[in-house]
Symmetry: C2
Subunit: 330 residues, 2 copies
Amino acid sequence: MKVSIFDVARRAGLSVVTVSRVLNGAASVRDKNREKVLQAMKELDYRPNASARSLAKGKTGIIGLTLRTLQDSFFDAVAKEINDRLAERGYYLALSVSPEGEGSPAHSTFKEDRVDGVLLLSPIREDESVLELKRRKIPVVLLDNQMRHSPAPSVIVDNFKGGFDAACHLIGLGHRRISHIAGPGPFLSSRERERGFRAAMAEAGLQPFSVERGTFRISSGYEIAERWIRADRLPTAVFAADDNIALGVMDACKNAGLRLPRDLSVVGFDDQPYAAEFRPGLTTVRQPAGQIARHGVELLLKRIEGAPQRSVTVKLEPELVVRESAAPIA
Amino acid sequence: MKVSIFDVARRAGLSVVTVSRVLNGAASVRDKNREKVLQAMKELDYRPNASARSLAKGKTGIIGLTLRTLQDSFFDAVAKEINDRLAERGYYLALSVSPEGEGSPAHSTFKEDRVDGVLLLSPIREDESVLELKRRKIPVVLLDNQMRHSPAPSVIVDNFKGGFDAACHLIGLGHRRISHIAGPGPFLSSRERERGFRAAMAEAGLQPFSVERGTFRISSGYEIAERWIRADRLPTAVFAADDNIALGVMDACKNAGLRLPRDLSVVGFDDQPYAAEFRPGLTTVRQPAGQIARHGVELLLKRIEGAPQRSVTVKLEPELVVRESAAPIA
DNA sequence: ATTTTTTAGGAAAACGTTTACTGCCTATAT
DNA sequence: ATATAGGCAGTAAACGTTTTCCTAAAAAAT
């Protein structure tokens, strides 16, 4: 029942080798024969067997991607783009979603040697799995690496510049009392955004009105803003380390009867899809998800297919997306 | 370099068959020999080759899951749960995210016969891919099927009951002027939720204050609520076909200076993770994502491993999650 | 026309497992 | 003690491709 390459060969009146050749787009097949083979394939509705192929080639054509969660739309966007880029190049993507620490990449799909290479998205620390991958000589590329040093080729985002630009935008709008709500400490991106913010302020000769530390959650921003309101100690503008925090801040303000952006200007980070949907639309720093994915795939495939070139780091620039949540000071 | 089953066999002083047997947990291996094999594996850091395995067994151990997007947290939750359940049973999950219509499951991972079975999440119509899968005798199970009829075993949610319960909740709080914002027509779930809503209203002897039709987006809810406010024709309560719509409605109200839930009670549908994070916390109908995943996996694996039993449909009940966004009428 | 080069296609040997099938050896029953 | 069954382990044949030679034919050069 299962139609194999032999059946196709027989039908086409040629050998399996020839069939294999047209399958792999190899040259040296007469046009007429190629036609015959294609015809036979179509007639028999032939599908090459992936396992057999992988076995013979010694490659699976599968790339693993590990990430902590898909709930995050930045991760989601990166994953989607990676998937598309890989598809273009004839590879498949295998996801491994796991909360980091416990069995990340060594986990699930990557246990047997099912993958030709692995992409690690936002790894926080060099856990056991990275080591194992390296030991087993499986090519790895780090995306949005959150570690100080990089144990492998990486694609990173210039979070410093993102924070810097965000602050500049607010300063440029005439604000002087500007606060920052930073993200969790373990994330390099949090620390860099904060550093960028501080640098811009310093450059303008300003002191931060305040700097808080939150988690990347709506409720976190809400609580901090609520505290500000209760204490009647509100800045005129705030730069939040991510869109969730920003949205939480705005929600608290709305509930307190404040008008946005009149009473408070807000800038976020990430450009989550719903950042544009609440009103006023959130001004935010967009992460170049597409570029991260493209560069990551490029780097990894080069490593897999070509020479094991030196460990590189690609740094990408985020982009300020101006909407309505940050306005000139009243 | 690559260590194969032969190397293990040699080291253990046994034949490859024996090694294979302990690999597959087959009985009939003397404990002492099993030990030897395990020891040899460990010493050589042996990893079985997945491709060879699949080829020999005629099974890949991979299950495909197609969905339209991962941005949706319901889909995301289902996907995650499926992944875990499959892992428990020794299977791997391959995602295929594509906007439906164009190359869904036939697409990407499922082109060659790489999968042992496929799960279709929220399919809207019986597109070409379902047909192809059936033609190729690849087991399929539909999750949250959105079609009137079901071309394969399905796991569905009782959306009628969800809508019914939501309406009852509002009625029970004393509301009489209750509106509904329905989702897009093509979704069976939209239509069922609306039907449930209407049934509950009718049973209470009430007319819907109004029924609108929106899309599953925040901005959609926002615009509708804004229109209500401008026209000064606000219900006292609204049941939205999903959380996004509900959140949009609430956002518009907040911006208009209304107090929630005093001025408007809102009930959503889905229980998206951020439904609980904005204030007031959204009262909503939770989809049993975990159960859907579990039943789906169960059904599919039974079909793959066991007898091709009759086409079944499992119907699951959603659950009303009460938070603060719906309150007794003032 | 003959020799040399290029091109196209085939035979056979991988690739690393699993799965019959066979036979030995050791208990158990007679 | 002998026949019998049953548990264990091994040999060989799949599984469906690709790849490495190698040869025949065709094209180019002499």
